[in-house]
Structure formats: structure tokens, C-alpha cells
């Protein structure tokens, strides 16, 4: 598969140009750079930018260089493992890495060195990719801003006075700053898609369970998804096909697009402009549009919150007695809230998941894809607590995940891609969502839209 990679807005304040997998591999193939050269560049970029960006908790220089030397040796003998051989990447510090510190962004785990490696990382090892570091995050993936009192708050490469979004904040910033061509993240309510949108890159959350979470610290078993962040859709597909079983697919003919009523009016003007631009391109390509009806989203948010907090208290609660003060403020506030949620409420919310899933599968019979704004707002200033969205004041974490969290409840594949506007302001993005299990078709539609937006 080969498609032109669209030009993206360049981060203005930090770092180099964006790296794609294709441009990295091209450098290998034309002999201009070796995998060791590229790894050195990525490591240097990570270390140079980290005092300001805070995108990495641990830079794994020796590990990456060892993997890069092996990749170069394979290339010399013509035994290349595939398109990721020698390509540097980063992983959210929720993925276990044998012999490499894995902190989950928490002081609680500041010295934790696992003995095992997450399945997704093992697959990337087998593909020859080079892990250059473990990225920063909202502690234990609970939070959408990327603020972290222990590891430092990840800032947005486009404007260092603003948040990168979270919880996969470091992964998004590292890709957006051109440090690595791709990174792994996790997404429980938007934690891959939100920072991807705010940082102007692409982010993908698969159908529930499609990318293994084996070896990933749980935040919420029922809603966690592993995901991928890259600079373009082509790279998303390349990485996803290495870590998950995604069959080939053709783009649908006569594309049927669902729109969620009212969502475009809950956005800042620039986000609405991006959404309308994407809609206009699809319309010109012959797509048809109709309203997709989703359940009461305020209620769905409570369902999501209840399941998240109850499950995270269950997992982390045993550590409270010995290390309460090692948890950050957000985690403690979430867990204490969970303590007063009844078992009946939790079980009923789990039943709601099933009703949502059935209804969503039915809704998607009429559509190939949903098109939505990705985030209602552009990257907020660091320290923002509340924002006004469509005349309503809401907590920042609530606002950032307004259009993403429902699709974790139904286990649907979803990805965000940036939309370049004439204004050249902060990044804005749209979201595409497919029916559960339609990841391959979603990639084809996203490639088509990306080319249109080019």
C-alpha cells in the first residue's frame, strides 16, 4: 500500500521536522543513514527536548542502539524483517519492558523494573523496531490533560504554554516533535486520540481487544485499549498490522457517513471549521450523510466514570495502606470517589455497556463510518481547570474527552487525523469511528480522507 504523505503543520517552538516511517526507511534504503544513525538522532532529540517537553520518563539509549546495530547487520546481509526494521519508536510507560524501568508515571513505581515485556512490544521487537524510550503520561493513565506532579507535565510541541493532552501525553508529544515516527499509547476514554488531536498527529484506538493488553498495566479492564500514534494514516496501518491481526480491506464504494447531531456546535470555531472541511471533502467525493443517533451522552459519561473508578480502586486499592502518599492527587481523588459507589451501580453500568454495544452495532448497520470532531477545544493552557463548551462550564478532562469516551464503551475502532486550516493556528482534528471489528475498513476510509485533506 502506498499513498502520498500529506504535509503537516510543523511544531513552531520545539524540535525538528516530523518523521514518518516511510522517510526513515527511505534514508536506510538510499544509504544516507543507518539505523544506528537514526537511533542516535532520536535519542539526542529526546534528551535535548526533555527538559522542556517532558515527553520521556526513561530514555533507553543503550537498548535502542543495540537493536539498531542488529537492524543494520540484517540490512547488510539482506535479511530485513520488514518496514519497521531499524525504525525508532517510543512506548507509553504503561507497557512493561523486561529489564527497563516501567513507572506508569507514578512515584509508587519509580523503581519498578519488570521481568516481562508486553506482547505489543515483543511484536515490535520481532519486527526489528528500536525502542528509544518510555513516555510520560497522566499518572496510571487516569486523566486527559497529561499533567503529572511526579514526572512533570508534558507540554505541547506547538506551544509550550499549552497542554499536550493525555493520558498518552508523552507519546503524542514525542511523535509531534519529530523525535520518533511512532509511539504506543493506551486509550480508556480518549487517551490516544485526545493528545494526538491536540498535538496535530494521527492516533488510533482499535476495536476492543484487537491489540493485546497482555503486559500493559491495567487502568480499567473493561474499557482499556492499546493504541498507536503516528504522523500519518499510512504509518498507523503499518504499525497496527504488526501488532494486531488486521485483514486487508477495500475502501467502501458509496460511502455512508453518520454525523452525531449537535456535536459540531459544541466546538470552538477552528474545530468546527476542521469538521466542516472534512465533511465538505467527503461530500464532494460522493459520500452520503445522515444523522447517527447515540444514547444520552451525559449518562454514558457517568457509566464510563463509574466503571473506570471502581476498577482502578480494585487494582490500586491494596497499595493505599502502604503508600497512600505516593499516589498523585488525581488518583487519590478518583479512588476515594470510587469507594462510595455501590456494587449495584457498578454492575448496572456494566449492563449498560452491553445495551450501548447492541444499540451501536445496530446504528452502524446504516453507516460505513461516523465523522465527528476529535476534541471540542484546541490545546488548553497549562493549569486550565474548567472550560466553557457551548455555553456550559465543565472540568477540562470532561471537555477533552467529550467526543471520544463513548466509543470505548462500545469497543469501536476510532482514529483521529489532523486537518490543516488556513489559519495555521493550534492543531485541530476530526475523528472517524467504525463498527466494532471494522478496523481494516476504517483505515481505508481514513487514508482516503487524509488524501483529500492533503
Amino acid at each position: 500500500m502506498s499513498h502520498p504523505t500529506p504535509e503537516r503543520q510543523r511544531p513552531t517552538s520545539t524540535m525538528t521536522e516530523l518523521r514518518s516511517i516511510r522517510t526513515t526507511v527511505a534514508a536506510f534504503e538510499d544509504g544516507s543513514r543507518s539505523a544506528v544513525d537514526i537511533a542516535h538522532e532520536s535519542i539526542a532529540a529526546a534528551e535535548r527536548s526533555n527538559p522542556s517537553l517532558r515527553s520521556f520518563i526513561t530514555v533507553t539509549a543503550e537498548h535502542a542502539l543495540t537493536q539498531a546495530r542488529q537492524a543494520d547487520a540484517r540490512r547488510t546481509t539482506g535479511c530485513i524483517l520488514g518496514p519497521l526494521d531499524g525504525v525508532p519508536y517510543a512506548a507509553k510507560d504503561m507497557f512493561e519492558t523486561s529489564g527497563i524501568r516501567t513507572t506508569c508515571g507514578s512515584r509508587l513505581l519509580q523503581t519498578n523494573v519488570p521481568e516481562t515485556t508486553a506482547v505489543a512490544i515483543r511484536k515490535l521487537d520481532a519486527a526489528g523496531a528500536c525502542l528509544i524510550g518510555k513516555t510520560n503520561l497522566h499518572e496510571f493513565a487516569y486523566g486527559a490533560t497529561g499533567e503529572n506532579g511526579w514526572a512533570g507535565t508534558v507540554v505541547n510541541p506547538h506551544d509550550e504554554t499549552r497542554l499536550a493532552g493525555g493520558s498518552s501525553s508523552g507519546s503524542a508529544a514525542a511523535v509531534a516533535a519529530g523525535i520518533v515516527p511512532f509511539a504506543l499509547g493506551t486509550d480508556t476514554g480518549g487517551s490516544v486520540r485526545v493528545p494526538a488531536a491536540l498535538c496535530g498527529i494521527t492516533g488510533y484506538k482499535p476495536s476492543f481487544g484487537l491489540i493485546s493488553l497482555d503486559g500493559v498495566f491495567p487502568y480499567c479492564w473493561s474499557l482499556d485499549h492499546a493504541g498507536v500514534l503516528t504522523t500519518c494514516v499510512e504509518d498507523l496501518t503499518t504499525v497496527a498490522r504488526h501488532i494486531a491481526m488486521i485483514p486487508p480491506a477495500l475502501p467502501p464504494k458509496g460511502l455512508r457517513v453518520g454525523l452525531v447531531q449537535g456535536w459540531e456546535h459544541k466546538c470552538e470555531a477552528s474545530v468546527r471549521g476542521a469538521f466542516l472541511a472534512a465533511k465538505s471533502h467527503l461530500l464532494r467525493s460522493g459520500a452520503t450523510f445522515a444523522v447517527a443517533h447515540l444514547p444520552d451522552q451525559a449518562e454514558a459519561r457517568t457509566v464510563s466514570l463509574t466503571i473506570q473508578l471502581a476498577e482502578t480502586l480494585t487494582y490500586h486499592g491494596p497499595n493505599l495502606a502502604r503508600a497512600r502518599d505516593h499516589f498523585g492527587a488525581d488518583m487519590r481523588s478518583g479512588m476515594v470517589l470510587a469507594q462510595f459507589i455501590s456494587a449495584e451501580s457498578y454492575i448496572q453500568c456494566k449492563r449498560m455497556l452491553e445495551t450501548y454495544r447492541r444499540a451501536f452495532v445496530n446504528t452502524m448497520k446504516a453507516f460505513d463510518v461516523l465523522l465527528t470532531p476529535a476534541c471540542p477545544i484546541t490545546a488548553p493552557k497549562i493549569g486550565t481547570v474548567e472550560v466553557r463548551v457551548a455555553g456550559q462550564t465543565m472540568p477540562i478532562g470532561n471537555a477533552l474527552t467529550l467526543f471520544t469516551s463513548f466509543f470505548n464503551l462500545v469497543g469501536a475502532p476510532a482514529l483521529v487525523l489532523p486537518v490543516s486550516l488556513q489559519s495555521r493556528g493550534l492543531p485541530v482534528a476530526v475523528q472517524l469511528v467504525g463498527a466494532p471489528g471494522s478496523d481494516a475498513e476504517l483505515f481505508e476510509i481514513a487514508l482516503m480522507l487524509e488524501r483529500m485533506l492533503g
Binding site: S222, S333, E344, C349, T355, G437
Partner: protein, 72 residues
Amino acid sequence: MLKPRLETLKSINAEFLGGRWADDDLQQLIRPAFGVVSSLASVLADLRGIVAKDLGDVAPHARAAAPNFDDD
């Protein structure tokens, strides 16, 4: 809307939870908004409506993970 009182929360913490939570943790719960999402009062109010729903014979968590190739 339900309005949890600090005294009630402290009693529950002491009598049923073994004093698991510090007072400053509990004090957050009586604020109109705290942490990254919402207040206890609003969550409990929303949950009353959710728990009252008759969902028929729908069982919890019937969703299964999609097949993957993660057992290498």
C-alpha cells in the same frame, strides 16, 4: 441532589472501611467539583437514575475481546 456530609463520610470510613481514607481525601467529596471529573454528589445523583433502569435480561460485560495473535 444528594449532598454527602463530611460527618457521614467520616463515620462510614471509620466504621466500615477501617479508616482507609484520610480526612483530606474525604473532604474532596463534599466539594461541588473536585479532581479531574466530577463531584460525588452529581455522580450519585446520576447513578440513581441509571440503577433505576429496567434493562431486562441483559447481563453485565457480555462483550468479548476480538481475536488476536498475542500468544507468541
